[in-house]
Amino acid sequence: MNPDQRKQSVGIVTPRHFVIEEGLKLQCGQVLAPITLCYEVYGTLSKNADNAILIEHALSGDAHVAGYHSPEDAKPGWWESMVGPGKTFDTEKYFIVCSNIIGGCSGSTGPSSINPKTGKRYGMDFPLVTIADMVHAQKKLMDHLKIRKWLCVAGGSMGGMQVLRWALLYPDSLVSAIPIATSSRISPQSIAFNWVGREAIMSDPAWNGGNYEEQPDKGLAIARMLAHITYLSEESMRRKFGRKLQFSQDYSFDFDKDFSVESYLEHQGMRFVERFDANSYLYITRAIDYFDVTDKTGGDMAKGLEKMKCKCLVVSFTSDWLFPPEQSREMVRGMLKNGLDVSYCNIESSYGHDAFLLEDDTLGRLISNFLSNLETDKE
């Protein structure tokens, strides 16, 4: 971290832990207890506790949204461009909270945590969690932090699903919601990609039914590489890599990596294995598969969103084919039918699904504008 970066950043942050001793009865019927939530906060909670914003992370994200964990830390949090003093999620105005989801592997209770009943890691004994379960756990954290009402709950991709769940499960607990690059019911295409990813992990002998000391590197890397392709677009890949060869002027005439795009994917896969637990990948992708706000309304979108009360800003990106704009539009249509105060912006971008992390200039202006009009909605 250089001094310039420090100036515009929340600086050094320390993750915190909150333990829900009694745990939670999960949607699958099992009780998970105790539950630890690892979270980070930035900024100061106002006297009236009315300036709190909850940010939800995506599949491979974590609670570390902004700042650095140590002065030696080379990489800031995953949404550093959006969260900090004077930025869109202005830490001088707002109190920002982000917590690691349950089922993950970044400090909150997940399959790599120790099962108190056995003294060993949960592995496949970990119960299946849903997006709703993740949100119920976050509600306990909200109460613990003495936050009356979120000014806003915002997040992209799987984070956006949590945003929608918040708005449906606790409609009186938030003033506004910003679901970004997401869907109100995951498409069969996404389910298919998740399935292939999990198959790659589970068919790696090192996975060993979920009981492993060493990660199933190969399987997890393949799952990540496959998923990574879905986060890009044909255009962004063409621009970034073209048909460039990575190491030599000519083809190697074997099956080792020749093209830049192959080296890039391999690198992404290897880096992911270092920081992400294979079992968590199984659990989280399953939670995504099960996400459907209309599962109890026979597919009726407006009915599925009926409980929602808050103001909403829905954002999609033109080249996102994993969560295509039409899926956002479908959700907007349901909200309009319910008479909700909703806005929708389909941001022009060639970055594909990843745009929600890369188009920070446009997305930043849009969200800043939206947030600046929320003040009057405070109670």
Binding site: V332, L336, K337, D341, S343, Y344, C345, T362, N373
Partner: protein
């Protein structure tokens, strides 16, 4: 004096605004198609406590609307109004946009499916300055229509008389016509008497 810019160079004066506002009861539900940066809706939301919604194609204008606190849906009017349910608005406004969509007749149908009363401001191709240029063999370029024939977004120009005929054909009733003129137009005083010749734009209040 309160004025409000609808589009390009057309400014609704306080009198015109009041005319429109007077026709809109308090707390109405208003949909503005091609709402731009949301100025008109913001005005109506404040003056009339209206429940407003805008539709806008351009991303930067959508972002501006959001900055004004005006809810907006980014969409292309050429696709109709599939996001909106039948009879979900009291008023549907269309400012100087009808001539730029692919099928003005179909958009009119959509307007009256979604809303009860239509407020359309219509660029009049029958205005005397346009007629004069056509007479001399040139495609008209006016203050309201500043483009060349090959780059104009206005692909369906028509006269006030043409528009009245389309309304009759579609059983749309014209409740009121408010002819508007450009600032400094020497014939402005004639617009009310002979709008098809002397008004550059005309606001129609319509119902089906």
């Amino acid at each position: 004096m309160t004025t409000i810019r609808l589009n390009h160079d057309t400014t609704l004066s306080r009198r015109d605004l009041e005319t429109i506002a007077s026709m809109i009861p308090g707390k109405s539900r208003i949909l503005d198609l091609g709402c731009g940066s949301g100025r008109l809706l913001k005005f109506l939301a404040q003056l009339k406590e209206a429940k407003v919604m805008g539709v806008e194609k351009e991303q930067d204008k959508v972002i501006e609307c959001t900055g004004r606190g005006v809810p907006v849906i980014q969409a292309d009017l050429n696709d109709g109004l599939p996001d909106f349910a039948d009879n979900s608005y009291d008023f549907v406004i269309l400012s100087q946009t009808l001539q730029a969509v692919k099928r003005p007749d179909l958009l009119l149908d959509e307007m009256f499916r979604v809303g009860k009363t239509g407020i359309i401001s219509f660029i009049n191709f029958g205005h005397c300055s346009a007629r004069k240029q056509l007479l001399f063999g040139d495609m008209p370029e006016t203050k309201t229509l500043p483009w060349k024939w090959y780059n104009t977004p206005n692909i369906h120009l028509a006269t006030i008389a043409d528009f009245r005929r389309l309304c009759t054909q579609k059983n749309i009733r014209i409740l009121r016509e408010i002819p508007l003129t450009q600032d400094g137009d020497p014939f402005a005083f004639l617009a009310g008497i002979w709008p098809n010749l002397f008004s550059s734009t005309c606001v129609f209040i319509l119902e089906k």
